[in-house]
């Protein structure tokens, strides 16, 4: 008889199960069959848009209130992304390693669906590094973009979101010299700015956390392009709720970083010194900030104690200086630098108070340390804005200049 034994049956069953269960092929995805999106830009769509109706038919009244966006995606071309450093004069350097596709849609996801309709390979967002939003769109509000980005498991929380002065898609088209892939250059600019103390750490995950908070307003880097190939950090785009409301100048980024206590200093300023009859360029090396909060007659009051560690990096009238650099002069420069910082910090805070944007997170200090006050006066971010407008500020700055570089006077 050829009846299979129990053992043979079990063996057969097991091998069938192994074949079915251990294949693991459902998610196989060849790397060259993916459209790897490195960066996207979001602009307001202009003029008559040609729209393929994929996500919705006809009109949707709620969506119609929001402006249609134009999304440009920078897609890496397989095989043209240089691996490792470029060797000079190699062939094919004329070809761009990326391809930029633009589509329109009411939301990011609709635009993405439209994008997929135009791109053969499956869109992959796992390497998305930068999202550039035009100022125009940022001023209308960014909340409607965050939902898709947070929901999608491919998006990294360590990506960057930036606001561009003018059209955002210029950042997709730019041709930087230092790096062949524009998106990578852009993210390098931002990462290096953190290392150089030029910008606080503000990747998209952090931006989202602040955006969700009811005690702080978000901020993003405000960038511009120079000569089609150069990225310039123009300042800080600050938000009121989810809407961008204003910008600062680059020096104010330094002051802002001082207030929130970012340690590494990267900005400098001229201080005039009567003792040596000239101007000195003083660079901030290290910063430290303490924030003391109190309530004065029910009104929030903040005392900011700043401590700067600075160095003298240039003496502007070095050649015909009548008096050499001396300890006393340095002391007075320290004082003047501190006074200058105090004045400018107050100005900066006043400016953001007028715009009702608490990018420093003073609200968080009050929420954390004065819970009774917070519970009775504040429920939403809007309530805090009301309080914040009338907040009084006191700034005390102390500067130490310890180093003067490699010159004796």
């Amino acid at each position: 008889m050829l009846l299979p034994t129990c053992r043979q049956l079990l063996l057969f069953f097991t091998s069938v199960m192994i074949c079915i269960v251990l294949t693991g092929c459902w998610d196989s995805d060849e790397i060259d069959e993916r459209a790897v999106v490195l960066a996207i830009s979001i602009d307001k769509a202009v003029g008559e848009k040609e729209e393929i109706k994929i996500a919705h038919k006809g009109k949707m009244s709620d969506l119609a209130d929001q402006p249609v966006i134009r999304l440009s995606a920078q897609i890496a071309l397989p095989g043209r992304i240089p691996l490792g450093p470029e060797t000079g004069g190699g062939g094919g350097s004329e070809q761009s390693p990326v391809w930029v596709v633009s589509v329109t849609g009411h939301t990011i996801d609709e635009a993405m669906l439209n994008l997929q309709q135009e791109v053969a390979d499956e869109i992959f967002l796992g390497h998305l590094r930068v999202i550039v939003v035009s100022e125009e769109i940022a001023r209308i509000g960014v909340n409607r973009f965050t939902d898709y980005l947070k929901r999608n498991p491919e998006i990294r929380r360590t990506a960057w979101m930036v606001v561009s002065k003018g059209k955002a898609d210029r950042f997709m088209q730019m041709a930087p010299k230092l790096e062949r892939v524009p998106a990578l250059y852009l993210s390098t600019v931002l990462d290096d700015a953190i290392d150089l103390g030029k910008f606080p750490s503000d990747f998209i995950g952090k931006f989202w956390s602040i955006l969700s908070s009811n005690a702080q307003d978000a901020f993003l880097p405000y960038l511009d392009i120079k000569n089609k190939e150069n990225v310039q950090i123009k300042g800080l785009a600050y938000f009121k709720g989810n809407k961008m409301i204003g910008t600062t100048n680059p020096l104010e980024i330094g002051l802002f970083m001082g207030i929130i206590g970012e340690e590494r200093g990267g900005y400098g300023t001229f201080v005039d010194s009567p003792e040596i009859d000239g101007f000195l360029l003083v660079r901030a090396m290290k910063r430290d900030a303490k924030i003391k909060t109190s309530l004065k007659n029910g009104r929030p009051h903040v005392r900011i104690i700043l401590h700067y560690e600075a160095m003298i990096s240039e003496n502007e009238v070095d050649k015909n200086a009548k008096k050499p650099l001396n300890p006393k002069a340095i002391n007075s420069v320290e004082g003047k630098f501190s006074k200058g910082v105090e004045k400018k910090v107050k100005q900066l805070i006043k400016k953001t108070q007028k715009d009702e944007s608490d990018i420093y997170g003073f609200g968080d200090h009050f929420r954390a340390k004065h819970p009774e006050y917070w519970k009775s006066k504040v429920r939403k971010l809007e309530d805090w804005h009301e309080q914040y407008k009338n907040m009084t500020v006191q700034v005390d700055c102390k500067t130490n200049i310890r180093l003067v570089g490699m010159k004796s006077k």
């Binding site: 947070k150 990294r156 929380r157 360590t158 995950g205 956390s209 969700s212 968080d364 200090h365 929420r367």
Partner: protein, 369 residues
Amino acid sequence: MDTPKKITDIQTASIVISSIIGVGVLPLPLFAVRAGNTAAPIVTLIGIAISLFALFIITVLGMRHPNKTIFGYSEEILGKWLGRFCNIFVILFFALLTALGSREFGAVVTTAILRETPIEVTVLVMLLLAAITSRNDLNTFAYIHTFYLPVIISPVVIIVVLSLQNANALYLQPLLGNDIGDMFKGSLTIASLCQWSFVLTIIIPLMLNPKRAMRTGMTGLLIAGGILLMLVVASVAVFGAEETKKLLWPTLELARTTTLPGDLLQRMDVVFLTVWVTAVFTTLLSGYTFICHALSGLFRLRDHKIFSFSLLPIIFVLSMLPGNLLQMYKVIEFVGRFGLIVTIGYPCILLAIDLIRNKRGKRSAPTNM
């Protein structure tokens, strides 16, 4: 029992730790923050205290009957049929817990990693793995837990430590603040995540030294609780209470936000998920093994292997019952909190009756052995 008694103290502690750390660590900070806002760490602490109490009760019971599992002594305390009747509920509850755990695992994998793979396949593979492994005896079971323990703990600790570079201490303040009722409800959910330590009830009789069960069990739970607390603190400190409420799996997001210094690894979620799959496996293995041994105890069988495969379809079907993800979490929270009656209430009653009977028993006759 034929299985030799040789489960050591360290093995017992590892069983407790790696059973508790499992699928539940992903939504854990969400549960805590929902209940307590910035008081989430306190909520977690209360939850751990509740589980410590639960573990205390079952260990006292186990040490009073050092040669029997809960299925043995419950029949002795409550009488044969009432005991069996109650034990059916324990088994049903753990079947449900294991099913929901595997379903949650499937949901995470399908959402975050293998998006094309059908959820049924992920769940089935995990259950199959647990079923095959549960055919071993309890000593091997203890070895497996001990073996995987460092793999489970160390990456979690590393991620928590590294994530602190993005932390903001202000997000953790004020320490107290929410409604006490809400907080307690949240603590029950947290305690329900620690219910897997109930597996200790079948381990104690096989311990080399059952007298030390209390110390080792408590140590294990404290270590596991410490890790859970660290995860909650890190999530709240990095994301803030408001953002944590918006995230389905804050722990996973924590791993996604964290980078190894020096750009060695730009996202840690790959490492974390690999580890997490192991953690889920050990947890489900505990549940599955517990059910198998419980059933063999119930039916007075010597061998538990017969149940390992026959249970599979039942647990699989149970795991597929919840419709969508949000519904699944509603069910998990409900079943978890309800299960506290089984894992805390039931042992309490057993202990109370046992103590009363023992006092009387001393006076009358030493019938109970």
